[in-house]
């Protein structure tokens, strides 16, 4: 073995390699448990397209000037992105806490913002991978227009970022596996179903429309749908502003909590 020598510490280099390592590890995890990470969303999307798109959708007729299958396709893609980016961050980070291997990163010379960025990148990566899978499934059932590619990419990236941050926040606070499942079951799922995935809010009574505008997922789904179809129930630029703001706030809150050691350090 070589003698231990004093080598200059290049923190910038350490952080970059450290960030890449977290992302590579997350990618490895996504691939290793592909049956849990990539397949379920494809199966769910097929069921939605068969039941809502094909069987019920035929009777629904047009929505927003498009057939129902085309209308719900962007929403279904976005739903899978939201669910998976959140699930990846919360389950991977809580798993690391539960198994104590989060300590591998905590004792390393990585500042908390690098750890947050690494896990967010992992969540975004899974969101995008599942998004591609569900898009491919969608193309079996319907054809997808691309109205504005930049808006599609920006909306999916920002949404995946926001929900990865949300999942990470959940994981920081969670003390057991029940608490990992509460937010997805009782908050995320209702907000997603009421978030305009399956319908246009213009179909709702006025009070319900107003209530729907307070739902952040409505803005995300509609911004994404606008990228494909060119129609939206919300102001797309307001939607982007809200997403950027949510990402910034969540990132800031996470950093404060992690710097304090909440849920991580005694």
């Amino acid at each position: 073995m070589a003698a231990v020598a004093e080598v200059p510490i290049n923190l910038g280099h350490i952080r970059w390699i450290g960030f890449k390592t977290i992302v590579i590890r997350e990618y490895g995890r996504i691939i290793r448990i592909w049956g849990q990470t990539l397949v379920p969303s494809a199966v769910t999307a097929i069921l939605y397209f068969v039941i809502f798109g094909s069987l019920i959708g035929r009777r629904v007729g047009q929505m927003g000037g498009f057939n129902y299958m085309q209308y719900i396709a962007p929403g279904l893609i976005m739903m899978s992105v939201i669910t998976n980016s959140y699930a990846n961050a919360v389950s991977s980070f809580f798993g690391a806490k539960f198994g104590k291997h989060v300590e591998e990163m905590l004792v390393a010379p990585l500042p908390n913002w690098i750890i947050v960025l690494g896990y967010v990148a992992g969540g975004v990566l899974r969101g995008l991978m599942v998004g591609v899978v569900v898009t491919t499934v969608s193309l079996i059932f319907t054809n997808l227009h691309v109205h504005h590619l930049f808006i599609i990419l920006a909306a999916v990236l920002l949404t995946a970022t926001v929900f990865s941050l949300g999942g990470l926040l959940n994981a920081v606070f969670a003390k057991n596996f029940d608490q990992v499942n509460w937010i997805p079951a009782f908050v995320l799922t209702p907000l997603t179903y009421f978030g305009g995935v399956f319908y246009s809010v213009s179909l709702l009574p006025e009070w319900a429309q107003r209530l729907s505008y307070a739902n952040p997922i409505l803005h995300m789904v509609n911004a994404f749908r606008y990228g494909f179809l060119g129609v939206s129930d919300v102001n797309v630029w307001l939607a982007f502003a809200l997403m950027a703001m949510a990402a910034a706030i969540l990132f800031g809150v996470l950093l404060v909590l992690m710097n304090r050691g909440t849920g991580l350090r005694e």
């Binding site: 231990v4 952080r15 390699i17 390393a108 350090r265």
Partner: protein, 325 residues
């Protein structure tokens, strides 16, 4: 703080949220290149101290620096110098040993190409190369301990902290690990070791601190500390059985069974005289050993003097003889 120390700790206090004060003002310096034992009974504060140094535990007050890097100012630089082997297994049980050590290297900024080479080097050194592609949870207890050592060495740290690295490891593997630790210490790595096996500390370490009740109870060179031991008990195995312990003037003797004689010998006395007298009495000695290891003797005296109950001391004795306290 001593900026030339591998580890310098001043006035370190830790009070947990439940009000328990685990550290009550620790001052400690570990010199570069040292092999340092940090001993203490269960709950003495050893793991809390290590937790603060490695940033897993937030301190309440005090200063810590690692090779001159103050953890309040240059935390990442300090952490870059440290490798830690924790008491509890803390790697991902679903990953392979090779993945675990390569990822750990990445967290310290080691490129994957270099990390792969080092993974082979350290996994081979610790006899884990054949298991590199196995799922970590399938490894035996001893293999898991060795994997944590390999992982801690991947960035070739200047300070290696081992918190009970050989707990639950069989004697053969333990001795292999000792050789390995001696080797990396000889190459310049400063090592801080906590252990319940006091023989391990006595065999490996040059300096020692005994921590008890959140305070440093003793800090000395190992050799100086051992010299302070005034009385040792030797156990002699006899060829022929005896009905009663022989009366040797100036010595306390007792029979633990008909062929095993225990003799207390003080620093001023010598063993030659004992053997001469036993020969005169026609008692033939086949072999001899210390009743307990010398460091254990001092350790127990210190701990008992500080008011620990006998149960605690008994547990330590059991630990020193191979069990876990």
């Amino acid at each position: 703080m001593n900026s030339r120390s591998a580890l310098s700790v001043r006035g370190l206090i830790k009070t947990y949220k439940n009000g328990v004060q685990a550290l009550k003002g620790i001052d400690l310096d570990v010199a570069p290149g040292d092999f340092f034992a940090l001993l203490g009974p269960n709950g003495a504060g050893k793991t809390t101290l290590i937790g603060i140094v490695t940033s897993l535990v937030n301190k309440t007050a005090g200063k810590v620096s690692v090779f001159g890097h103050d953890i309040d100012v240059q935390l990442d630089a300090a952490k870059a110098c440290i490798g830690v082997v924790p008491q509890e297994v803390n790697f991902n049980m679903f990953e392979t040993p090779e993945t675990i050590v390569i990822n750990q290297a990445g967290f310290y900024g080691i490129e994957r190409r270099v990390a792969r080479q080092r993974a082979q080097k350290y996994l081979e050194h610790l006899q884990l190369w054949d298991k590199r592609a196995s799922i970590a949870r399938s490894l035996s207890g001893g293999m898991k301990r060795r994997l944590m050592i390999a992982r801690a060495l991947m960035h070739e740290p200047r300070l290696l902290i081992l918190d009970e690295p050989t707990a639950g490891v069989d004697i053969e593997v333990r001795r292999t690990m000792w050789e390995f630790l001696r080797e990396i210490n000889a190459l310049g790595t400063t090592i801080i070791l906590t252990t319940h096996y006091l023989e391990e500390a006595e065999t490996l370490c040059r300096d020692i601190a005994i921590i008890d009740g959140g305070r440093i109870a003793e800090r000395d060179r190992m050799s100086s500390l051992l010299r302070r031991l005034h009385t040792e008990t030797f156990v002699l195995n006899l060829r022929n059985s005896l009905a009663a312990a022989p009366q040797l003037e100036g010595y306390v003797t007792r029979l633990s069974d008909d062929r095993t004689l225990e003799i207390e010998v003080s620093k001023e006395q010598n063993l030659n005289e004992i053997f001469e007298r036993l020969s005169v009495l026609g008692i033939e000695v086949l072999s001899m050993r210390n009743k307990v290891n010398r460091l254990e003797e001092i350790f127990m005296r210190l701990v008992e003097a500080r008011g620990h109950p006998p149960a605690s001391a008994a547990a330590l004795a059991a630990a020193a003889q191979g069990g876990r306290a």
